[in-house]
């Protein structure tokens, strides 16, 4: 277990002094520069733009090329998932979670299943836990590979993107073999998994884990030591540890600022405490540190995956409780009791006791939390998501203001946003 360090700071609004005026000023002209009667230029970036990672819209006020003020506009991908969830059975929430962080759908599925199980007080089986760890770490690797690729495009290096996407493709093939889907996996069920891993999955995963570090090393070589890459990323978009905590950042954004907080270590779920892995930490909190932290996280995830594959033992993937788990189709067609349970599951759903549950996991983007309130029926009366990307995105104006337009693009890329999750 890691040594936990508590970070305590006074509550205040960063960047604003007691009078409500901003404390930091953009890099501008010197005081004695002649007044040229110039105006700031308002530039609209997005929702359709190569570097907004979906449909984020940024309105930037530029002084020359320096971003003086930046306002992100959200909502272009709003789908009302949380409200929709109030009309769904618990198992029917899982497909909605696929569509939030669509770059790491399996981790989202796991998070929701864990919350629903916490609400219902279900203990899942040993094999199911290991499978869920595999699902989470696969998602993390996929999401980080996409992040690394798109960030390198934003900073101008196109080639690493395609190298990484080839690795992602191999991972997607494994995911497809398991879940039947590349994007909308819906791999978990309350109390278990949608399916067990198929034959050959383990061998395929081991082969992947053996081969893909080579690509990672290549990307490392082409980017980490590159003077241009370092110049573009170092010292850009700095968040100090204090500010990162103030802004409630999580995930790699927080750890790059040097705060050792990872849900897998600090509030372990799925027996993460029994796995041997490290949490990479940055020192400067700049774009380069975020890059290094995520890069190392990919390697650590690969370590966890290897350990998870080693401890994968035969056993049931679902809890042995017909009230929670849908009976197999063959049984439903031949046994009376199974048919009744099947009917009740499909028509009435699984009822949860009155109460509420919050469970958070370390998603690919940060701390991904789900909050469910039950009134005793089979549907939640309230479903709330803590989307890490949304909260991390709130720090974008703070990090970008005073930097150049190009830096703003790099900073935006370093946050690792997914608009499906931001807008929900």
């Amino acid at each position: 277990m890691s040594e936990k360090s508590t970070v305590e700071f006074e509550l205040r609004t960063p960047g604003i002094d007691g009078q409500g005026n901003p404390t930091s000023h953009a890099v501008g002209l010197a005081d004695d520069a002649p007044d040229l009667h110039s105006d700031h230029m308002l530039v609209n970036i997005g929702p359709q733009h190569p570097a907004t990672h979906g449909v984020l819209r940024l309105v930037a006020e530029l002084d020359g090329e320096v971003v003086v003020k930046l306002i992100p506009h959200l909502g272009y991908l709003h789908s009302g998932f949380e409200k929709l969830g109030e009309y769904r059975f618990y198992n029917q929430l899982i497909p909605l979670t696929d569509r939030m962080d669509y770059l790491a759908p399996m981790a989202n599925n796991v998070g929701l299943a864990l919350t629903a199980e916490k609400l219902m007080g279900i203990e899942i089986t040993e094999r199911c836990k290991v499978l869920r760890v595999i699902a989470c770490e696969m998602s993390r690797i996929i999401a980080h590979l996409v992040w690394l690729g798109t960030t390198s495009i934003d900073i101008g290096a196109f080639t690493p993107f395609l190298w990484l996407f080839q690795e992602r493709e191999k991972m997607y093939n494994l995911q497809e073999a398991w879940t039947g889907a590349r994007l909308t996996t819906s791999v978990t069920r309350v109390g278990g998994m949608m399916a067990d891993i198929p034959e050959g999955f383990e061998a395929g995963m081991r082969k992947f884990l053996l081969e893909f570090p080579k690509t990672l090393d290549e990307v490392d070589k082409i980017l980490s030591g590159n003077g241009i890459w370092c110049g573009r990323t170092q010292g850009i978009g700095i968040m100090s540890a204090e500010e990162a905590v103030d802004y409630s950042l999580s995930g790699a954004m927080l750890r790059a600022s040097g705060v050792p907080y990872d849900v897998r270590k600090d509030r372990p779920y799925l027996d993460y405490e029994s796995y041997d892995f490290d949490i990479p930490l940055g020192e400067h909190g700049d774009v380069f540190d975020r890059y290094l932290v995520r890069f190392e996280e990919i390697r650590q995830s690969a370590r966890i995956l290897e350990q998870a594959l080693d401890r994968l033992e035969d056993g049931p993937i679902n809890v042995d409780d017909p009230r929670v788990i849908l009976p197999p189709k063959s049984a439903a067609m031949s046994e009376m009791e199974a048919m009744i349970f099947h009917f009740k599951h499909v028509m009435e759903g699984v009822e949860a006791p009155v109460g509420e549950a919050f469970c958070s996991i370390e998603g690919a983007k940060g701390e991904l939390g789900y909050y469910l309130v039950s009134d005793g029926s089979a549907k939640p009366v309230r479903w709330r998501v803590r989307p890490p990307a949304f909260i991390n995105l709130a720090a974008l104006p703070k990090m970008s203001e005073g930097h150049l337009l190009s830096d703003m693009i790099a900073i935006n890329a370093s946050i690792d946003i997914v608009m499906g999750e931001v807008d929900r």
Binding site: E65, A157, L292, V293, L404
Partner: protein, 404 residues
């Protein structure tokens, strides 16, 4: 018309035809090469459907662009908007006029049925015009291309295009200085600015890449900036300004910007081959310096093409490997590094040449190698300063600590 005039006109028009098609076919080929080479670097196939190996892909794209709808932004300045692509296309085509693409051909004296007697006495130099201003002409003409970018950005009435054109003009003006300065050292060695003389001097001694290594470095980096290629593609910057100055352009007007970019790349490659790699000179032999003949012409022409293509492939390789500079970093590199370096380098070369000349060293291979020896320590210092990646790359593992 005298037979000499007829001969001159015939030769001139043939040479113009050859040079023009060299550039245009070159553009088509280099676009194809860029797509195939980048595909090779990225483990994919690239265009391989149109024609053998996808060779006709660029032609197909050309046809597509001819037939596409032309769009005009509502608030654009129509005259300037149409003029801009033309103004960047024409200089790109003109610059090839003074580059010698092979050893001279022998003159002729023949009688044709209708035209009559045609005479060209003396050797035919293989360039459209052997101007006494030589590469100054190329520098002057290629720098006209910046007007195309500025006018495109201004007339589009689009903020992305505007920012892109501002960046483009600042960048091209800055790097022209470094580029010109890099060539001053070469001027000291050659004695004048004609490209034929530059090739002759290289045949006498060694290729100028050796005595003028830093000069070549300055010229190559500035060429990247002048042609707006990555890592200096700031006027376009796909991820920031969509496509920069040509955001609003469609169909053939866009194609003209596109072709101008690649034509500039060909010119820059040909310049590098001519000024620093001996032009059409075949290395390790003096056979090609003998009297003009058709065999010599075709051999040297092939060598010239090979050298030019080597640089074009290097351009492509660099583009698909490196990330992009930021604007202020680009200007810093230009003004605070390249220009002082170029000035210091001129001093160094001038001093060395003066010392060698006063000591009575004959211009030749030894002369070149002494200059090369002067370049070596400077090169080492230069690259250890520039290669910041070595320093940072070593420290990156120290930067991320891992909590147990």
């Amino acid at each position: 018309m005298t037979p000499e005039l007829k001969g001159f006109l015939l030769v001139a028009s043939l040479k113009i035809l050859v040079a023009f098609s060299l550039v245009n076919v070159g553009v088509i080929m280099v676009i194809w090469a860029e797509r195939r080479v980048s595909a090779f670097l990225q483990d994919r196939l690239g265009p391989n459907r149109v024609g053998p190996l996808g060779l006709l892909q660029s032609l197909a794209d050309g046809v597509k662009n001819f037939t596409k709808e032309e769009t005009y932004p509502a608030e654009a300045d129509p005259v300037v908007f149409v003029l801009a692509p033309v103004l960047s296309f024409i200089p790109a085509m003109l610059a090839a006029a003074v580059i010698p693409f092979g050893s001279p051909l022998p003159g002729f004296d023949m009688t044709l049925p209708i035209i009559g007697q045609i005479v060209y006495s003396g050797e035919i130099p293989m360039m459209i015009a052997d101007l006494p201003i030589g590469f100054l002409f190329i520098l002057a003409i290629t720098s006209l291309g910046v007007y195309g970018i500025v006018m495109a950005g201004w007339s589009s009435n689009n903020k992305y295009a505007f920012l892109g054109s501002l960046r483009g003009s600042a960048q091209m003006v800055s790097y022209e200085i470094a580029m010109g300065m890099g060539l001053v050292a070469l001027m000291i060695l050659v004695g004048n600015v004609t490209l034929t003389e530059a090739i002759a001097r290289q045949q006498e001694s060694t290729w100028f890449i050796f005595p003028l290594f830093i000069g070549f470095f300055l010229f190559a980096v500035s060429s990247l900036a002048e042609t707006n290629r990555l890592p200096f593609d700031l006027p376009e910057t796909e991820s920031e300004l969509v496509t920069g100055f040509h955001t609003e352009y469609s169909s053939m007007k866009f194609s003209m910007f596109f072709m101008a970019e690649y034509a500039n790349m060909i010119t820059a490659s040909a310049m590098m081959a001519t000024l620093f790699f001996g032009g059409w000179d075949i290395p390790f032999t003096t056979w090609d310096e003998g009297p003009a003949s058709y065999l010599r012409f075709f051999a040297t022409f092939g060598v010239f093409l090979a050298k030019t293509w080597m640089f074009m492939l290097t351009f492509i390789w660099i583009r698909w490997t490196l990330p992009r500079f930021r604007f202020d970093q680009l200007m810093q590199l230009g003004w605070k590094f390249m220009i002082p370096l170029a000035l210091g380098y001129i001093m160094l070369i001038a001093t060395t040449v003066w010392v060698l000349d006063t000591r009575g060293v004959e211009f030749g291979i030894v002369y070149s190698l002494i200059l090369f020896a002067v370049n070596l320590p400077l090169t080492y210092v230069l690259f250890s300063i520039l290669d910041r990646g070595k320093v940072l790359g070593g420290s990156q593992h120290k930067r991320v600590k891992v909590s147990a």
